[in-house]
Amino acid sequence: MSGHDHHHDHDHSELSETELRVRALETVLTEKGYVDPAALDLLIETYEKKVGPRNGAAVVAKAWADPAFRARLFKDATAAIGELGYAGRQGEHIVALENTPKLHNMVVCTLCSCYPWPVLGLPPVWYKSAPYRSRAVADPRGVLADFGVTLGKDTEIRVWDSTAEIRYLVIPMRPAGTEGWSEEKLADLVTRDSMIGTGLAKAPT
């Protein structure tokens, strides 16, 4: 699955079969009164502008900086994350996974594309792709190498296949040299990939 629209590089006046069909279906559904066009725009705006990995980064930064929140997060992540206002669709049941020097967590959905939307937004194309979904469970170190990440042989690699409605959020290790940093500053070190487990948090520069 390439995940790309094979036609988007073409002349803009030439609409692909898919584009035409989506447009036609939207017209039919609107004419029949099954969809509210304003609701469609709002759904798109929500996931394009409002919900994304900045939410997850705020959760991770708070877990690093606030021991009481950290305790609540590992006890009941859905409730703790809900304190920050992040909840709902594709995040109804969230579990937070703690990375340590001895344990590295990585999240995949081999069967489709399950992903914790309220904290990470919609998944990137690679997360939904056959290479990631096929190899994450069988060769996670190879996948990490694709992302330029190498971990010691004595680090356990724990892969979580999201086969049910439980959504997993990796809490990466806090980088050294960030003692006393504010949550806002810490959040800038938290990448999307570090919360999936295909990356690490950035080192302070």
Partner: protein, 223 residues
């Protein structure tokens, strides 16, 4: 179904290639296909398991050659046509040719935020007791249903350990075929890498799936 979607452990797909600064959507039609899929769940009356089933229920070659939103859109068309909400000739015409079905609830803009915030929790109350507890050894059943299931092939027949009793959750195998939610106990089951991938494989790898009780048997290990 043992379809193209069940990718865990399959070979030949190449390296994982991430796109730097990837946009949320790559084309306007992806935005529309995404929003239509979310919005039509209300008048359409289908559930998430039916949606997943409609996406994967196609020849594997077709599944693997389609992009993510092409799959979403194809499934949306399938589910709409199955319910006679839209017909092929209407899509070809690009206009409604028949009146709408009466009494369909529509997702209004005013409802969007609340509907997304509420989501669709799948945990259900139960009077039954969980058959397994953390630490129990279980074997994933060797099932091969022609209909939707969430037990991936790569764990079937293999022995793992119950790590967590999650709760009682809607059972996709029933829910996807309109046979009701049929809630079942759900567990996180952890497998050692070499149990899944052979004795020569990386012993530092552990893999878990979330598996409903009907996917599991108590393991009878040969000592």
């Amino acid at each position: 179904m043992n379809g193209g979607q069940d990718l865990g452990g399959t070979h030949g797909h190449g390296s994982v290639v991430a796109e730097p600064d990837e946009p949320v959507f790559h084309a306007e039609w992806e935005r529309r296909a995404f929003a239509l899929t979310l919005a039509m769940a209300r008048p359409g009356g289908w559930n998430i398991d039916m949606s997943r089933s409609a996406r994967e229920n196609r020849p594997p070659a077709e599944y693997l050659s389609m992009s993510y939103y092409q799959l979403w859109f194809a499934a949306l068309e399938t589910m709409l046509k199955e319910r006679d909400l839209v017909t092929d000739d209407e899509i070809v015409a690009g206009h409604a040719l028949r009146p709408p079905q009466p009494g369909k609830r529509v997702l209004s803009a005013a409802d969007v935020a609340q509907v997304l915030y509420r989501g669709g929790p799948t945990e259900r109350e139960t009077n039954t007791k969980a058959a397994f507890k953390p630490g129990d050894r279980v074997r994933a059943r060797d099932i091969n249903p022609l209909t939707h299931t969430r037990l991936p092939r790569y764990v079937r027949g293999h022995i793992g350990t119950i790590e967590r009793v999650i709760g009682c959750h809607v059972f996709p195998d029933s829910n996807a075929i309109g046979a009701g939610e049929n809630p079942q106990w759900l567990y996180t089951v952890r497998f050692d890498g070499p149990e899944l991938w052979g004795t020569g494989s990386d012993p530092s790898v552990k893999v878990s799936v979330d598996a409903w009780e009907p996917y599991l048997d108590p393991a009878k290990e040969i000592k």
